[in-house]
Amino acid sequence: MDKHELRELFSSSKKELYEDWKGEEDLWSNILKKEGKGRYVWKKFVYAGSVLMVVLLGISIWSWYPTNDQIFFTANDYVDALNFIGPSEEDEDGLDSYFEHYEIL
């Protein structure tokens, strides 16, 4: 057998395959189905991932976010500041009045 005969053999085999095979529509619908399924699975993963990220972000913000006491100057602090009497002339460095105010002495 030479290459021309081989070519002819292939050609008739291919022709017969095309004549016998009628699966074009089935194949195309399978492809669409499979591709759609792949896309759906991919989408599902992305959706689940995004939800997880949002939840994790929420938890981390919630656990690290400072409390109101840490953020705001509360009314008590304000009163405290008003009550604080600055250093007298004798108390040059202000330590006495500071200790007095905070009842340390």
Partner: protein
């Protein structure tokens, strides 16, 4: 303007199917591979530009997929007679002439190594140039020619 996926499928699916079929000698398997090739095409479709050689891309994907399963095919080749009969019955290809042609080709193709089988299919069925096959299969032209001439020499004996 580039064709849509359906047009590309209509244009090339039979060529891809024929390559896969003559490589695997199993219509069901060939359909599965063809299906995978076009699913991959749809998945990558948005990334193609106008310049892309779609036929070459499809052939490359099909060839790689076929070569991936060569181990399974080698095992199957041992039981080819039985499987061929089953495939023929399933697809209704029972015509004596069909079987003769396929038997003849089967004798040639199942004797050669997987990559050489693919080269023979591309060269003598798809009538591709050695340079094109070399590009698709990433094998030097000289090696391809040597492989083909060795097979042809063997057939003449």
């Amino acid at each position: 303007m580039m064709d849509g996926p359906r047009q590309i499928f209509t244009k090339y699916h039979k060529d891809v199917l024929a390559i896969c079929y003559h490589y695997t000698w199993n219509l069901e398997e060939a359909e599965d591979i063809t299906q995978e090739v076009f699913v991959k095409l749809l998945a990558n479709f948005s990334s193609f530009d106008e310049e892309v050689n779609l036929k070459a891309w499809l052939y490359r994907v099909a060839i790689n997929r076929c070569l991936d399963i060569k181990r399974r095919i080698a095992t199957r080749a041992k039981h080819f007679g039985m499987l061929f009969q089953m495939a023929a019955e399933k697809t209704g290809m029972n015509d004596l002439k069909d079987v003769e042609v396929r038997n003849e080709l089967e004798k040639i193709l199942t004797k050669v190594e997987a990559k050489t089988r693919m080269v023979l299919i591309l060269k003598f069925m798809e009538e591709m140039e050695y340079s094109q096959i070399s590009e698709l299969m990433n094998i030097p032209e000289g090696t391809l020619k040597a492989r083909v001439s060795r097979v042809l020499k063997g057939m003449r004996k």
